[in-house]
Subunit: 216 residues, 2 copies
DNA sequence: ACACATAACTGAATCCAGTACAAGAATATT
DNA sequence: AATATTCTTGTACTGGATTCAGTTATGTGT
């Protein structure tokens, strides 16, 4: 709900696109920055949406023009990448086994994440306290992607999406991805790109689903 | 937070245990029943804690004597089982490979779930609308168990709990468990016990982690 | 210039979950 | 009866989230 007309999917942060109407005085970035500062200063739980908008110089209502929920502030970059996952899946090599294809797709979608570009949430999540609430905002991403992966796996395998197998594949792969992302972020300055972490984490899962079951 | 003194861990719903003090006028069960009715009638989001307690004939405050959060109404049976997971892990055969041991532990902990005992949340989750909020309450379970599994796996493998491997194992196994539980619930009257579903879902994961990596 | 459509912001009202706490009520123990 | 224990109730408060009517700032067409 609360559909955002907003900046045409915020494709480019530099040119928020609005050739007509009142120009934006704020932006996702401005609000994100304000929020990040406050989260570090006072922690996530003690930072209210009022605080964020006050620091950003807009009114409280404006916040919800840019984000559907307080927790969504974190996920701008991540959501952008995940939005491409569907295309990456569609463009994947039809010869590859399902889980390999999923791995490649995630690796593709994670293209942008390297040593110099780590989602804020992944690096700072220890500092801001209150893990539960933050991770709750992660779950919506999880389930959205799980649905995508499940239909993909079902189609690839030629089985019904409601079968157990595509569901297990979807869930295990995406949780391996999450684990990989967390390990990658935790690796500190030694981390390189995200993609290798993803592939390493998914390798045993892929092996398992190729070997033991009657799926190719 | 909001520690429940409550019924000595609600071991038996029939005898809420309180040899001294004012006797309970309500119970988890009463509140659950009221909540389930309302969730089906009006959906989860539109059902307030006030509604629940009104139907149950107690005051709003009482609800939070029995449940820490609105979403916890669902999880009574599940939490009970998960509480045993730690013991089941500890009691597992040290010879088994990690993921097998985890599978056995889950199967043990899922003992109670059979054709006649399906957690309400698993069967009704489509009907009640507003998946997000419900799933948020699932996340706390997920993370709690993930932490348990991660330390277990790390200890078994003799590696640091912060290493990627135990994390991936923990995440993938628990998500396979969730997938299995959902498929089991969706199977309708044809479903038997939960345990076989768990083992089937975990089998490929176990294979993968035994085969490809240098873990025993 | 002027009017108009459009898009964004404002601000206030509302709802509800969750927290805290004090006061009261019903029971067992002494 | 007095007391301790345990649960219930009521009230008040914080803060996230939703809604909406009204306002403001811009571009566009005349």
């Amino acid at each position: 709900m609360t559909q955002q007309p907003l900046p045409t999917s915020a494709d480019d942060a530099g040119t928020p696109r609005a050739r007509r109407g009142r120009p934006r005085v704020s932006s996702r970035e401005v609000l994100e920055d304000a929020a990040y500062e406050l989260f570090i200063e006072n922690g996530y739980a003690k930072t209210t949406v009022d605080h964020i908008t006050q620091r950003a110089g807009v009114s409280r209502g404006t916040f919800f023009n840019y984000f559907a929920a307080k927790g969504d502030v974190f996920w701008g970059q991540v959501d952008e990448s995940l939005a491409h996952l569907g295309e990456c899946l569609a463009a994947s090599d039809p010869q590859l086994p399902v889980v390999r294809a999923i791995g490649e797709a995630f690796a593709d979608a994670a293209e942008g994440f390297g040593p110099g570009n780590v989602p804020w949430i992944l690096t700072q999540h220890q500092l801001i306290g209150s893990r539960d609430e933050v991770q709750a905002s992660a779950l919506t991403r999880f389930t959205a992607q799980a649905d995508t992966l499940r239909s993909f796996a079902a189609a690839r395998l030629g089985v019904d999406p409601t079968d157990p197998l595509p569901r297990v594949i979807a869930y295990t792969t995406i949780s391996a991805v999450i684990a990989a992302a967390q390990s990658w972020a935790a690796a500190g300055s030694s981390r390189g790109h995200l993609a290798p972490y993803l592939l390493r984490a998914l390798a045993p899962v892929a092996d398992g689903f190729e070997g033991s079951t009657v799926i190719r």
